[in-house]
Structure formats: structure tokens, C-alpha cells
Subunit: 152 residues, 2 copies
């Protein structure tokens, strides 16, 4: 077997640990999805657009818990690739985001691979830890929320 690099122990800084975990798991999912041509971020956006029908950018941002402006640019890529459509809506302020046939085909390809990694991940991590992860997400987002806006 190949040597394999020695992995530094987790940091004392909670934030860095989460960031390290994020980088590592993103790499795993992205590699798994690679043949489908989708990144895990794009896959998740597409899946949610498909699931929650045509919807506005803001609504999708809330679902994905992403900065709206971040999503705007992410969606631009999906639009350029022909996976989604960004059409006007009755209310001219809003935009209707909807998945295209091409987009559905893409997630079809990706889904199989996603299920595989997801299964592996669950096996390696364990149910208990997964639950704790869910809790961790909730706690952190709760904390980050309050701080966000207080002003006017």
C-alpha cells in the first residue's frame, strides 16, 4: 500500500476543524460526482430547483441557506450550462428559476453517484455522529443568525 501522508491532528480552533471537514468532504463528493459534470454545490441547487418547482432566487437562497448574491452567481453558471432557466415573472422584480430537460438529465446522472458516496459516508461516520452533525448545523446557524442584523 502507498505510504499516505500523515494527517495532522484536528486543530484546537473549532472553526478550523469545521472548515477542514468541509474541504475534505467536498473533495470526496466532488470526485464522486465528477463523471456527471456537476459539483456538489451545483447538484444541490439543481435538486432543490427540481423539487420546489419554479421559484425565485431569494426563496431558493433561503432553502439552501446561502447568501442570495452568492446564489445569483452560482445560478449564472447553471444557466450558461443550460441546466436551468431564469425567466421573468409577473412581478417584474422577481425571476422564475426553473430546471430544464437538460438539467433533469444531469441530476439523473449525478444522483446514482451521489447515493453511493452518501451511503459510504453514512457508513464511515455512523448514525450517532450524523445526528450530532445535524444538531451542530442547527446550533451554528442559530448563533450566526442572531448576530446578522440588528441595525435600523
Amino acid at each position: 500500500m502507498p505510504a499516505g501522508k500523515p494527517i495532522p491532528k484536528p486543530s484546537v480552533c473549532v472553526c478550523l476543524n469545521v472548515r477542514r471537514a468541509s474541504r475534505a468532504i467536498t473533495k470526496l463528493y466532488d470526485q464522486a460526482l465528477k463523471p456527471s459534470g456537476l459539483k456538489v454545490t451545483q447538484f444541490s441547487a439543481l435538486m432543490n430547483i427540481d423539487a420546489h418547482g419554479p421559484l425565485t432566487t431569494s426563496a431558493l437562497a433561503k432553502i439552501l441557506m446561502l447568501e442570495r448574491t452568492t446564489l445569483v452567481r452560482n445560478l449564472k453558471l447553471l444557466e450558461n450550462a443550460g441546466f436551468i432557466e431564469n425567466s421573468p415573472s409577473p412581478d417584474p422584480r422577481e425571476r422564475q428559476i426553473s430546471i430544464t430537460a437538460h438539467g433533469r438529465h444531469a441530476i439523473g446522472q449525478a444522483q446514482t453517484r451521489w447515493r453511493t458516496v452518501q451511503r459510504q459516508m453514512k457508513q464511515q461516520i455512523g448514525t450517532e455522529q450524523l445526528q450530532m452533525l445535524g444538531h451542530l448545523v442547527t446550533v451554528l446557524e442559530g448563533m450566526a443568525d442572531g448576530q446578522g442584523t440588528s441595525p435600523p
Copy 2:
């Protein structure tokens, strides 16, 4: 009290959960460190440069578990800000990364604030979850490692 946004339940996708956690906690730390003018990523780089003396980019990358090329650009910013110095080494291939007085002053400012968030974080998350997090990091980095390189 302000309404506060409703927080969507954690995703089924393990990867997305970790990414969400990463975004949330990064926001918390960055806000806490804001007055110091450092991002949490920069703070960690500076702290490690300070701790492990002058060292090469590659060495630091291993410590931080970062892509070397990513680190190169991150360091460029710290250098422009005058926090570090990137000087040549006996071996002309290598570079010596070292912290400057200005850099030490910066982490001095940041450290107090970091300790505060870190404490809050530990309180909110709990020892058990923190251990779980450490384990999660190890497992994920272990998995991501193997896949990496098999080549020639």
C-alpha cells in the same frame, strides 16, 4: 425581539450539512475577529507561522491541511499587508515564510477576540460534540486522502 429567519432543517446530504456548518461558523469567527482586521483563515495562518518559525510554503500547507497553491495566494495577501515576509532560502527552490513585527501585533489584537468566540463556541456546542467533530475531521481527511493520488 426581532423576528429572526426560520432556519431550514439540516439537509439529508452530509456534505451540504458540513458546508452549511462551515459557512455559519466562519461567519461567527470572522465577525468576532473583524476589529482586528483579520479573517479566521488569515489568523490561523499567522498563528502557525508564528508558532512553527520560518518555514516553507509546502510545510505550512501540510500543517494547515491546505492545498499548497491555495496557500500561496493566501500568503500573498498577508505579505501585501506586511504581516509576513517571503524571503529566499539557501535552497533557491524554497521560500522562507516568517512573521513580521506587524504580523505579531495583528495576532496580538486578534487573539483576545478569538479566545472569546472559541469559549462561546465550546459552551454552545458541548464537549461531546467537540470530540465528535474532531473525530469527523480525522475520518473525512482520511477518506479524502486515499482517493487523492494513485498515478504513474
